[in-house]
Symmetry: C2
Subunit: 215 residues, 2 copies
Amino acid sequence: MSKSFNETDCQILEEILRLRRDVRGNYFTDEPVSKALISHLIKAALYAPSVGYSQPWQFVVIRNESVKQQVYQSFKQANAVGSSLFLGDKKRDYKALKLEGILEAPVNIAIFYKPSKTPVLGQTSMKDMGRFSVVCAIQNLWLMARALNIGVGWVSIVDAQQVKQAVNADEDAELIGYLCIGYVKEFLDEPELKQKGWAEQKNSQDVVFFDSFPR
Amino acid sequence: MSKSFNETDCQILEEILRLRRDVRGNYFTDEPVSKALISHLIKAALYAPSVGYSQPWQFVVIRNESVKQQVYQSFKQANAVGSSLFLGDKKRDYKALKLEGILEAPVNIAIFYKPSKTPVLGQTSMKDMGRFSVVCAIQNLWLMARALNIGVGWVSIVDAQQVKQAVNADEDAELIGYLCIGYVKEFLDEPELKQKGWAEQKNSQDVVFFDSFPR
């Protein structure tokens, strides 16, 4: 018989989902993160679904300061470009935000999608499915980290090509996510961008529809 | 103080991650799935991280037979194209697999990415980040479904444009995932494609690297 989960299990999962946060450098501590703990996180990632059981992921666990510095330089350049796209109050607010924790977090993990050279079952119509499998692995890792009371921040303000060079990735590998990982001073109760009024929470009736979008 | 999870919580999460399966039509039962249960799943999805707190997701909960039939016809066409890409034994094995549960599952959910018309914080360098946020929401939903002992199958062998037409989606909305949802006869112990020998499980040392890929 298949394992049947109970109401308590559901509640625990819901708490982990609800209290998972994106953690930036001002919340990480320098408490070391053990190899065993990183293995635990990657084990969780590897339980992810993958299209056609292709397991198209690659993880690079980074502690090396020089690699981190290269990625941090890439962030700085990309962030200058990013902030330039916002105007007025939004630019001011953007510049006041800490948006990464590359150097503060004891461990970084770069996660890549490695395309298959042969057709993948399930990826013949929707070509992004391999990338999406890698994202599912990242979300698994993130949730397990929260259950282990470890913070994770996903840094997307980088030049993917520069990150690939920093870790010597193959030309066909694609950066999907760059994670900063470490113990934290605290987990915020709510997303920081919500707390600070950067954007409001959407109403569920604005994003959930039945059978069809309104005609 | 932030909530601190304990070892039992971690073990429960790990079991949910490990025992989550992709469910196809031959495993769904016709036991009805309540509105409350679908709301519970969507609530879990909405706890997902989203780049710049953009919440760029749209969910269409489908019970209408005519909509399901349109999506099923799209699957049949796309699957004929997909199977034609495999040769010899692989083609035989492909054709023997049940790859969707569109009509068997009492509920389907189509999940879309709705791009922002203005710049999104964190999406200025990596343009796929909005899509990836939607995938995180799908993985949250999938895990909560497993905790509720509900099966989910992700159908990727469809023409996204045809699915959009079937639910009257805006032109700029992008289909990210199409899920079949229902109670199941059983959850397999392992991914079906692994059990049936379609592909082997990769060794973790082949996908995990330290500081850099080998030079």
